[in-house]
Amino acid sequence: MSEAPRDIENLIELMAKLPGLGPRSARRAVLYLIRKRALVLTPLADAMAAVAETARECITCGNVSTANQCDICASEKRAVGEICVVEDVADLWAMERAGRFKGRYHVLGGTLSALDAVGPEDLGIPRLIQRVIDENVTEVILALNATVDGQTTAHYIAEELEGRCAVSSLAQGVPIGGELDYLDEGTISAALAARKRY
């Protein structure tokens, strides 16, 4: 016999599937929600219902949106000649937090992976190339992770875009607050290769 009524057990099971939550923490969270029904549970349920109804992928860039086009693609204030390519929406949000980039984005939704048989078509790379042509893009900035898969994808895109527009990538090297003694030799050699004059 279960400890809680069936509906509540069902909610606990669903919550336990969320990242960072297991069965015990999901149980604690559900108990908290029930205790704070008016303050948290009802608004949370309303917000989730609203998002479930409206959330979709931006048809232009692949960002998460509640309309066909995301706020960034729809904004007239964003520069149209620059596209920043990111692996997923979390990376786009990280770039936006920095507040430096004023152009538009293209979310790949993953990286090329021989192991998982992820090819260029699965990542919307042909759609990116079409955007570069249609939107008269002058520069594509590859903001992909400094991992083997991320850089393999970056090199592939750079090759596909050769001759169509300028292609640049984020710098790699010593992070702010980083100490040389703790860096791996790959990071140090990348930093040395990308050194700049004072």
Binding site: P19, G20, L112, A114, L115, A117, G119, A146, T147, V148, Q151, T152, H155, Y156, A158, E159, Q172, D184, E185, G186, T187, S189, A190, A193
Partner: protein
């Protein structure tokens, strides 16, 4: 059950929220998988990049269990990330080993050759020739070795120019005669000589590719070869074209 070894990391797959399953090509235990707890953490994830040389301590209750790894970095090989051809080479090596090697079967000779190959990537201009020889070694190690020492028809060691697609044996230009167009090319780079010109390497890769597909992949139920190898060949073809253009301009 526990042991400690060193090896090259071949692949990483997520396992649950915080763990990963890694495949490592070790010297004494061959291609061996294991779980790394906390493998997605900021501290460990940068170490777990394909191609990295790592020290692994494996532990499991029973031999047949997947077991868990404790991982220590030895060499990252991250310097190839900025070199697109070398990175394509690294992807081809790791994905072909994942594709071809049986699990938990030691291949010390291939292990040593793989180490040397990975260390050459990006560090030496001639690494594509070393890669070509590595593919030959991979075929040999798995029982599909080519016999390129003498001509299959005349027994001569001179003028070897082709490889028979049926037997994998060398054929001299003279013996090939009118059958030449049905044979595979045998560039000098496959024989241990040659200039390392990209065009020759590409020719050699077409020959090894034929046997990888028709012999090795056939024995794996005709599974397609990893895309990473095709991407490396495309990349080297592009370099061969560029070499040709530069030669024409001179």
């Amino acid at each position: 059950m526990d042991w400690r070894d060193q090896g090259a990391l071949l692949s990483v797959r997520k396992h649950g929220e915080t763990s990963v399953i890694i495949d490592v090509f070790t010297e004494k235990h061959g291609r061996h998988a294991g779980v790394v707890r906390g493998g997605t953490s900021r501290k460990i994830a940068p170490i777990l990049q394909p191609g990295a040389q790592i020290d692994v301590a494996w532990r499991a209750r029973l031999e047949e269990h997947i077991g868990s790894y404790n991982v220590e970095p030895i060499r990252s090989r991250a310097s190839v990330l900025s070199d697109r051809t070398a990175l394509a080479g690294l992807n081809a090596v790791t994905s072909l080993l994942t594709f071809a090697l049986p699990e938990r079967e030691a291949h010390p000779a291939l292990y040593r050759q793989t180490q040397a190959m990975l260390d050459l990537l990006g560090a030496n201009e001639a690494w594509p020739t070393a890669y070509l020889k590595w593919e030959l070694a991979l075929l040999e190690e798995l029982g599909f070795g080519l016999d390129l020492s003498t001509c299959a028809v005349t027994g001569s060691m001179d003028d070897l120019a082709y490889v028979s697609p049926k037997t994998g044996r060398a054929v001299s230009a003279e013996a090939a005669g009118e059958w030449a167009d049905r044979l595979l090319p045998l560039p000098p780079d496959l024989l241990g000589g040659g200039s390392g010109a990209r065009e020759n390497v590409v020719q050699g890769l077409e020959t090894t590719g034929f046997f990888l597909i028709n012999w090795l992949a056939h024995s794996h139920g005709n599974k397609p070869l990893p895309d990473a190898r095709a991407r490396l060949v495309d990349r080297l073809k592009r370099e061969a074209r560029d070499e040709q253009i530069r030669a024409d301009q001179r």
